[in-house]
């Protein structure tokens, strides 16, 4: 019951990534909702492969920024270089000028460089030497970060985390999946065989259509109730902002479209809420010490919220 076009993207990704259906779906959701993804995981589980497959499937150009502590903002957004021949400065765009960008280990670089990328994500444009340059559309960033406990990291500030539509983890494949990975990669990486299945124009068209997906009042109130509960939960220091609610609604629309529906059901909300909210709430220190994860809190909130099964009574 998937959207036929979007399903081909999923199939493409699955061709490369084995057993990561959820991750693929969430990526497509973020792409459709014009959001960005924060992937929190250790190196080597296939983040790059995943993004490349996605980029290839939609025929977008793919760039990758490997963040290091000494990376400068200009290394991200680009720099004007003096051209002696033409006697003027010429702008050479940085990696941010692509359609689909993998920002690897974003928390390894200094906040200054981080914010350069995040600004671009938020504004859809970058300003270099007083000239504002609009970034190409679609513009989709998939940033990865090492788990925060690692040494030598600059954790992203909360305000900037909010810029990401959703945060997800990839996780290790199971033994069988890993076997399959080995089999497939024995001769040639399958990524080379991938063909675009959807044009950028079509993708933009779909991004516009996502907004038309029906979100009933009951669903909206369900979303609002969930967001509200994150603010009053005992373990939470700072709850999800209204931007979080908006993000959840947009993601739900994209998710509904992906599943071939033109209306959102509570299942969408329940599935997406942990991914949308978990990086938007800050737990109290006590809760952190007790080993409670933000995802657990969100799950508990969902489990205690009544699903709307009837018309709202006015």
């Amino acid at each position: 019951m998937y959207h036929p076009k979007l399903e081909t993207i999923l199939q493409n990704i699955e061709h490369v990534m084995i057993g990561k259906r959820n991750v693929a779906e969430l990526s497509v959701v973020a792409l459709l909702a014009q959001g960005h993804i924060l992937l929190e995981d250790v190196p080597g589980v296939g983040k790059t492969m995943m993004v490349r497959a996605l980029a290839k499937s939609v025929g977008a150009n793919f760039t990758r920024i490997q963040f290091t502590p000494d990376l400068l903002p200009s290394d991200v957004i680009g720099v004007s270089i003096y051209n002696p021949k033409e006697m003027q400065f010429q702008f050479r765009g940085g990696p941010i000028m692509g359609n689909i960008i993998l920002a690897d280990e974003i928390n390894r670089t200094s906040p200054k460089t981080q914010s350069a990328l995040l600004e671009g994500m938020e504004e859809g444009s970058v300003t270099v030497d007083g000239v504002t340059r609009v970034l190409d559309k679609p513009f989709f960033v998939m940033a990865t970060q090492n788990p925060i406990e690692y040494e030598g990291t600059y954790p992203l500030p909360e305000a900037q985390l909010d810029r990401f539509l959703l945060k997800m983890k990839m996780g290790y494949p199971t033994a069988e999946e890993e076997m399959e990975v080995l089999n497939r990669l024995q001769y040639a990486p399958p990524i080379d065989q991938l063909q675009p299945v959807i044009s950028l124009e079509e993708l933009k068209q779909l991004q516009r259509e996502v907004r038309e997906i029906v979100v009933d009042e009951t669903i909206k109130s369900y979303i609002v109730e969930l967001a509200g509960k994150t603010r009053s939960h005992a373990n939470v220091y700072l709850g999800a902002s209204p931007r979080g609610s908006i993000a959840l609604m947009k993601a739900c629309q994209a998710y509904a479209m992906l599943h071939g529906r033109d209306y959102v059901v509570p299942d969408d909300v329940q599935f997406l809420a942990p991914f949308i909210f978990s990086h938007r709430i800050i737990l109290k220190s006590e809760a952190k010490y007790e080993g409670i994860q933000p995802e657990d809190v969100i799950e508990r909130i969902v489990a205690r919220t009544r699903v709307p099964v009837q018309r709202l009574v006015k």
């Binding site: 029906v214 009933d216 009951t218 669903i219 033109d262 209306y263 959102v264 059901v265 509570p266 299942d267 329940q270 969902v302 489990a303 205690r304 919220t305 009544r306 699903v307 709307p308 099964v309 009837q310 018309r311």
Partner: protein
């Protein structure tokens, strides 16, 4: 492991012992209430059976042991020969059992032999022991049996002479400990806990302490008086019982000997006669005039003497004076239980027909006996012509003394009282009648004394007066509980103590209406339950006037409200009424007054209070029926409510098959959700409809719920129209809801 096994065995043993004690409580009343003797053997048998079950002995062996036990007991009880002389008793026993079995099949249950009865009872005990074993060892639940035990003892305690006071305490103690231990067993089983002695003690000690403490507290605590004193009299008076007889537990009905009154009664609805007449009235048989302190006798030593009369001749006696011009009424009696005496109405005129030559009115006891030639004979049919007496209220109220009869000694026999009559009875009589100046009001005061002072009507557990104790005194000051004999005798004695001539009358109440004839007459059925006794008071100007002191009974006595002097508002007509003797002739407005002890007289008749009065009376009279029917209604209601998941779907299907509007689908879907929940498939609050539908489908092994839910989602979350969808989906919905009835 070994230890826990031993503990388990011990716990089980305790359970069996307790259940044996509980079973014993069932057998205890049997000895007292029935003529079963040697109950010891049955108790022993119950014990042996439970022991065999506890030991887990093979059913063939244990069955043999039990049969052997039964044989030995039957031999001991019913045969003289020694047990080993098998040829002497086994064939006899076999024959006896076989014959009784045949009698059982023929439904001649009274004739079966005692051996057979004992044998059957053994079998019953056997079955009960097996049930107990099953409940303890297999089900590990005994609540049902426990509740039945409590009900059994409570019912016996209420309705029979059996005193369950201590029995109920024992049952509570045994029962709660038993159920507590069973719960422990169940928990240990369910949770697979190790049955260490330590854990079991942790449970048992608080349990025993708690049961012991609460029992002691309950026993020692002061108990409030019941709000509703005793429901039994209401239930029993509802079945219209009354009686007369002497001592012990008796069956209701007419009896001759009233010299020792008291004791309990049980109802008997054997029909005595049918009567076709206009109105319900009391049927007289005889009167008695000598109160002995224990019961009633006649003062006349010679009986059987009195005026004789034949068919269609006027009867040679009058109980009261009455206008000769009153309307004549006939009553046709169809007798079922034949006696030599006749029952007669209050103002008989003549006997129209009947299979007898001559009737004698016995002056000694006012009994009418029928003769065929010289032989006393019973009639199976006769017809009375009679008049309905009406007593002038003026005349009633004017009577304050015997007048001309004062010193003749004629009325002395009706003022007789035994010398041993306790003084407090006389004092009470004076106290009751002190405020009244005439005999009628005094009689009314005595009549209503009982209902105003928490006397209750009851037929069971009525004591017989002890040696040196007066029957009336006991009733008035000690028991305050009794049936017609108590009330009527007491009223006569109280009236006599107040110097008003009165006597004790026996007969039947009016009976129950069973039909109507074509000419508008009623047919009444009079049974042994209608046997009754009441009071007659002598008014010099009127004769004998009946009174009804018994609570719950009403005699239709017509009193003519011919008062003009006092209470003008009662009588719109200003017709001067000359002499009371003639009052009956004047067409004064007549109101039938029910002389009952519960009805307050309300003649100026604003209709609302009297309506409420009537409602109240109806309620009071039928309180048993009301309570019974509301209990039944409640029970049925609760049952229907508990079983609603079985019948509600059909109602819903019917309801939604006619309903077609824009909300139907939603409503139907929601009621399906509720029904599924009743069925046991509960949707968690956080469960989405989709997830729930999958669960339901998995349970029923279908895809129907998911299909239906998909449509409902479109309605709910996409705001699509319902009406068309409902047309398509109704079948699906019906299928689903039908599944929940299975």
């Amino acid at each position: 492991m070994r230890q826990s096994f031993r503990w388990n065995k011990r716990l089980l043993f305790v359970l069996y012992v307790l259940s044996f004690l509980l079973l014993w409580e069932w057998l205890r009343p049997i000895e007292q209430l029935t003529d079963t003797s040697f109950i010891f053997y049955f108790v022993l048998f119950a014990g042996v059976s439970l022991l065999l079950y506890y030991l887990g002995i093979d059913w063939k062996v244990s069955g043999f042991v039990k049969l052997l036990f039964i044989m030995i007991v039957l031999q001991r009880l019913y045969f003289d020969s020694s047990f080993l002389e098998i040829s002497a008793w086994v064939p006899a026993l076999a024959v006896s059992l076989w014959e009784s079995l045949i009698l059982t099949v023929q439904q001649d249950w009274n004739a079966v032999s005692n051996e057979y009865r004992s044998f059957l009872f053994f079998v019953l005990v056997w079955l009960t022991a097996y049930l107990l074993h099953y409940w303890i060892a297999v089900r590990k639940q005994l609540f049902l049996f426990y509740v039945f035990t409590v009900f059994y003892v409570a019912l016996l305690d209420t309705f029979s002479p059996y005193d369950g006071q201590y029995s109920i305490i024992r049952i509570i103690l045994i029962g709660f400990i038993l159920m507590g231990l069973l719960t422990l067993q169940r928990l240990l089983d369910q949770e697979r806990l190790s049955q260490s002695s330590h854990q079991i003690q942790k449970w048992i000690i608080p349990l025993v302490l708690m049961v012991a403490f609460s029992s002691v507290a309950a026993y020692a605590a002061p108990k409030a008086e019941p709000i509703w004193p005793d429901p039994v009299p209401f239930i029993q008076s509802f079945s219209q019982g009354a009686g007369s007889g002497s001592g012990g537990v008796n069956r209701l009905g007419y009896g001759v000997d009233d010299s020792a009154l008291g004791g309990s009664f049980i109802g008997d609805d054997t029909k005595v006669f049918d009567v076709v007449t206009e109105d319900s009235q009391y049927w007289r048989i005889e009167m008695k005039d000598v109160y002995t302190g224990k019961g009633w006798d006649n003062s006349a030593t010679v009986t059987g003497e009195g005026p004789a009369f034949g068919l269609e001749e006027d009867v040679p006696f009058r109980l009261s004076r009455i206008s000769e011009e009153s309307e004549e009424i006939t009553a046709t009696l169809d007798i079922n239980l034949e006696y030599n005496h006749l029952v007669y109405p209050y103002h008989p005129v003549r006997i129209e027909s009947g299979e007898a030559d001559e009737f004698i009115y016995d002056l000694a006891n006012e009994k009418i006996t029928s003769f065929s030639g010289e032989e006393e004979t019973g009639l199976d049919f006769y017809e009375w012509t009679y008049k309905e007496p009406q007593y002038s209220l003026t005349a009633l109220r004017e009577t304050t003394g015997l007048g001309d009869l004062e010193n003749t000694g004629e009325m002395d026999q009706y003022l007789q009282l035994p010398d041993e009559l306790p003084e407090r009875v006389v004092d009470l009589a004076e106290e009751i009648t002190a405020d009244q100046d005439n005999w009628y009001d005094k009689a009314n005061a005595v009549e209503s004394y009982f209902s105003q002072n928490a006397f209750t009507y009851d037929q069971t557990d009525i004591p017989v007066p002890g040696e040196g104790q007066d029957y009336v005194d006991q009733f008035l000051f000690e028991t305050q509980r009794g049936y017609c004999d108590n009330f009527s005798t007491s009223m006569v004695v109280l009236l006599r103590a107040a110097d008003i001539p009165a006597r004790w009358v026996k007969g039947y109440t009016g009976g129950e209406v069973v039909g109507q004839t074509d000419d508008g007459l009623n047919e009444y059925e009079v049974t042994n339950n209608n046997a009754h006794s009441w009071v007659e008071v002598y008014f010099p100007s009127l004769g004998w006037v009946p009174f009804e002191p018994t609570i719950g009974f009403t005699n239709n006595v017509s009193v003519d409200y011919d008062l003009t002097t006092e209470g003008d508002d009662r009588d719109e007509e200003e017709t001067p009424l000359p002499e009371e003797e003639d009052n009956e002739e004047t067409p004064a407005p007549i109101q039938d007054e029910e002389v009952t002890d519960e009805t307050a007289i309300d003649e100026n008749g604003s209709s609302v209070p009297s309506f409420w009065q009537r409602v109240q009376n109806t309620f009071m009279e039928n309180v048993g029926a009301f309570i019974l029917s509301s209990a039944i209604l409640l029970f049925v209601g609760v049952l229907l409510y508990r079983m609603r998941f079985r019948w509600l779907p059909r109602v819903l299907i019917l309801y939604y098959s006619v309903k077609k509007d824009d909300e139907t689908f939603s409503k139907a879907y929601m009621s399906l959700l509720k029904q599924l929940q009743r069925f046991g498939l509960k949707r968690n609050e956080d469960q989405t409809l989709r997830a729930y539908a999958k669960e339901v489908d998995r349970f029923f092994n279908t895809k129907e719920m998911s299909r239906l839910t998909a449509q409902y989602e479109r309605i709910l979350y996409r705001k699509e129209g319902q009406e068309e969808k409902w047309q398509d989906m109704r079948e699906l919905w019906e299928n689903l809801i039908k599944r929940t009835t299975g």
